[in-house]
Amino acid sequence: MIKRLLPHPALTAMLVVVWLLMANSITVGGILLGLVFGIVLPKFTEPFWPDRPRVRFRGALLGYVGLVLYDIVVANFEVARLILFRRNRDLRSRWLVVPVALSSPEAITVLAATISLTPGTVSSDVSADGRFLLVHALDVADADAEIARIKTRYEAPLLRIFA
């Protein structure tokens, strides 16, 4: 019964929270309306996520968000320095082909979005078999070291979160 009514409890909780943030106040009416959306929308969108992955909501996810936010700030200053002071002919732009050990499409999407959000790298495409990511880096001295950094810093925690 509960499973029929709430096929995706995490999505329901997220919709209620986003609705309350949108209304910018916590009232009984707001919570009820949020719950209506939280129950109706997952029912309607159920066909879109037939094989959704299991996500571990705990410290690992929070730690990952904190790590990414910190890296975004650091990389912003790094890229700002490149834009302001590096001459075009000294710029070491490269394509990186990053082998991916993650299997679920959702996990690969999160990794690709993380790579794009941290300045200096933009993920451009995924290989048709889902085993490689094509990443463009603005300035990288050692391509192999940068690939290893992406794998240990971002992919390893995601492997634990989407286990």
């Binding site: 490269r94 690709a112 959000l117 200096g120 495409d125």
Partner: protein
Amino acid sequence: MSGIVEIVIAGLILLGAAFVLIGSWGLVRLPSTMERLHGPTKATTLGLGGLLLASVVFFQVRLGVWTAHELLISLFLFITAPISANMIAKVHLHRARTGDRPDHDGIAGPPPRPDPDGEGEWATFEAPHTDTQASIENP
């Protein structure tokens, strides 16, 4: 509003505006499409982050309320920004492959294949599957 809070708000706005400006400057001065794509990613992360943080502090001090809209703005930006960058990168991949503008490969050169010695291909070049509903209706 006390002086120290005004200084904090002004500092955050200046920081945000500086990064938006640097991002736009990068869009102008970097040599080709793929390098230019790196400029605006700064504007959407730390640039807007600074401006939104200033907005949160301002409304808290001026009106005494915590606003959550800034949180939602950054949430939606974090969802949409990588997708638009991905779309532009994919168009660049297709142009590089078809030789539409071969002189615009940029510093990094033409994009590599996924597997150095295999038959792998990037997803954007993959032919549509023949067994989907759309391909049956529009052969």
